[in-house]
Subunit: 286 residues, 2 copies
């Protein structure tokens, strides 16, 4: 089984490198060619000239890009090269609708498609400990499982095409609410004049404990919002959540507030910071 | 060093029993005498006839009751029996102001006072794994540390009298926000028709992971809101947070929303349920 990887960004590059180290990767393609050329050179891989060129040379295409329109553009480009039994696995975080459209185009050419968004961030991509939420046919998933195991510690089948993205949307919505919860409470503690590093240490060990406080609490109190999960990317994901909720006739108040807060951060030039930069808007005025 | 315990409620009783099993407990008192009589009989302790009667027979008084007015009433009652070096340790969750008032009354009689609210819930009280946030003089804390170690796995000095309660307020405010975050996102997932037990399992292991989802996610999806942390008690704690914030000229939007939501739950007869009962207000209509 020959595997190709499209999209060597912050997540895609370490994922591709893990596949290459396991001798599972055959070809790579990236919009900015230099990034793909570097990975191809490091492991002696084929540097494809286009998504279709890549798809023509492999059995499984893994995809990891940023936005819905990128996925649809690449799928369109792939189509002429799809053969029966080509499987396209999309690790991007996009709308379930984009997954359904992609699946239907690829299936019309005889291939198959899985939506397979991940959690675990850049650290998880590097250490091959991502959790993968999959939507699509169980038999197709079974076929590519040996490949996905090289990237992740956990692969969970969520249902039909789109269900992986729906589960990821729940994850992103919850992350937004937790960001609001943690930043509001830490701002309160800072206004009270408490030793916040002690407070974080104590609170993290109790019933209000959470991953975000544990990993980002101390840095946000110190005013550091360096690399992590970018505000602009979470903003894009939350707009997908809002769209999905509105189709259900639901409102998600914390998601809506977070979209508005992130828009303000982006307007102020903080879109590339970690999402803990929300603390900028909550912390007590000096 | 002889120790007495006042307030044998859901938290206080298992704490007192842990002290008794370590042969550190001398006397007990409780407003509803039957609960104190049972503990006294089990371990051969003195059943005090009043808080002052208890204080007269011990060096250290531990206190664990529900509300600010209970603490102040008991402290008033204790005062005649306070001798130099009597230490009163208040494990209740009340306002920093109540702690400061209590400390000043007890210090005027030559004794000393620590505010020492806990996290870890009933399970933590039973297994002696509470985390204790302490406000007050370090030397006083050092003196009673052997006693507190019998109840907890972690004792953290947060600063002067009141700082233990202030840290606890941050914890309670964060717990409110997390309740909002988790219930909103799970309701979204349920409306999307996902297999929610799978979603919880996956999300709990990622960057949106948190104690509350881990411990209460599955039960809330199943509509079970049994014993845990009572809505009515968290409601009381959050009103303290709101009061503290308003004194700082701050608003805490998630705390405010949660106070309103809990008030509605209490009006509908759910005040004794676990705080995950907030899901009742968020879940999609059947």
């Amino acid at each position: 089984m020959r595997v190709g990887f499209i999209g060597l960004g912050a997540m895609g590059e370490p994922m591709a490198r893990n596949l290459a180290r396991s001798n599972l990767l055959h070809a790579v393609w990236n919009r900015t060619e230099a990034r793909a050329a570097a990975v191809a050179a490091d492991y002696g891989l084929i540097l494809a000239s286009s998504p279709a060129d890549l798809a023509a040379q492999v059995d499984v295409v893994l995809l990891c890009v940023s936005a819905d329109r990128d996925v649809l553009e690449i799928v369109e480009n792939l189509l002429p090269a799809i053969r029966p039994y080509t499987v396209v696995v999309d690790h991007s975080t996009v709308s379930p609708e984009t997954s359904c459209q992609s699946a239907s185009l690829i299936r019309a050419r005889g291939g198959d498609f899985l939506d397979a968004p991940v959690t675990g961030g850049v650290e998880g991509a590097r250490s091959a400990s991502l959790v993968i939420m999959v939507g699509g046919r169980p038999a197709t998933l079974a076929g590519v499982t040996p490949v996905l195991k090289t990237l992740s510690r956990r692969i969970v089948s969520m249902g039909d095409v789109g269900c992986g993205q729906a589960a990821k949307a729940v994850n992103q919505a919850m992350a937004a609410g937790i960001n609001q919860a943690v930043t509001e409470a830490l701002a309160f503690g800072q206004a009270l004049g408490l030793d916040m590093h002690k407070v974080i240490d104590v609170v993290a060990g109790g019933a209000a404990g959470n991953w975000f406080l544990d990993k980002r609490g101390d840095t946000m109190i110190d005013g550091r919002f360096g690399p992590g999960f970018k505000v602009a990317l979470h903003h894009k994901d939350l707009q997908i959540c809002e769209q999905m909720a509105s189709e259900l006739g639901m409102t998600l108040p914390l998601v809506r507030q977070t979209v508005a807060d992130y828009a303000r951060l982006m307007a102020e030039g903080h879109g590339d910071e970690d999402i803990s930069a929300l603390y900028r808007l909550k912390k007590p005025k000096a």
